[in-house]
């Protein structure tokens, strides 16, 4: 299980090859790549800056990956999140999960992403033609995270939602 916070870009192919490392038990790899869009709330975004809480970010992401491990049969997982200045079309985040079968890889990859959106301490500041502003949290992201309550093979009994 690997969590990386970095300013540099990443190479999806190279990262997945590394995640597999010739493990013959892996039958499936699911991955998600998040990108910077040029349009948000009908304003043109020229640049975005990602801020985070060093220390807590790594702990929060490791905790989310551990929770995914409890719920699904996954072999390995990788989370890379970029910070600092980014431009439209840039890659922001990568989540990749390996497992024996596709169901566990698909579900746990989406779960990690939904939890990351609502529980990992990152903040986006957008630069638009009208000036700079901090992006507001979206209720739809919280709704997406809450639908995982009790789901997975071994749901966490302490889960309150």
């Amino acid at each position: 299980m690997t969590v990386r916070i970095q300013t540099e870009d990443f190479d999806l192919g190279a990262e997945i090859l590394d995640l597999r490392r010739g493990n013959t038990g892996i039958g499936a790899v699911a991955s998600f790549v998040g990108l910077v869009r040029d349009l948000n709330h009908s304003a043109t975004v020229t640049e975005m800056t990602l801020e985070h809480y060093p220390g807590m970010t790594e702990k929060a992401l490791a905790g989310i990956v551990e929770e995914a491990k409890r719920r699904w049969n996954i072999i390995d997982a990788l989370v890379i999140h970029r910070v600092g200045p980014l431009k439209p079309t840039d890659q922001i985040v990568l989540v990749a999960v390996s497992s024996a079968h596709r169901g566990d890889a698909f579900a746990s990859c989406e779960f990690i992403m939904d939890y990351l959106k609502t529980r990992a301490p990152f903040w986006k500041k957008e630069q638009t033609e009208a000036g700079a502003h901090w992006v507001d949290a979206r209720e739809s992201d919280e709704t997406a995270a809450q639908r995982w309550a009790g789901r997975g093979h071994q749901p966490d009994s302490s889960e309150s939602t």
Partner: protein, 84 residues
């Protein structure tokens, strides 16, 4: 003495990313700490008021209003997260 950290909009509005603070005896949890900071007035009162969504982490774990705050703790204030 505790360490206070501020992120994103709060960091900019307060003009401060971190500080050390000696707490009065009545500050024992996140709720009373927030109330104590609100008494600074101005941006503090506005940003930490009831109508603003603020998240608090104690020692790098998400906290609730009744989470205890003790000497030596690291307490962070920030807006709801927007990563990914």
């Amino acid at each position: 003495m505790i360490t206070l950290l501020y992120f994103a909009r709060l960091r900019e509005t307060f003009g401060l990313s971190s500080e050390q603070a000696n707490l009065p005896a009545y500050v024992a949890d996140v709720r009373s700490l927030t109330e104590w900071l609100r008494q600074r007035g101005g941006a503090w009162q506005e940003e930490l008021g009831q109508d603003r969504l603020v998240r608090v982490a104690v020692n790098q774990g998400m906290a609730a209003p009744d989470t205890a705050v003790r000497d030596g703790d690291e307490v962070a204030f920030f807006p709801p997260v927007t990563g990914g």
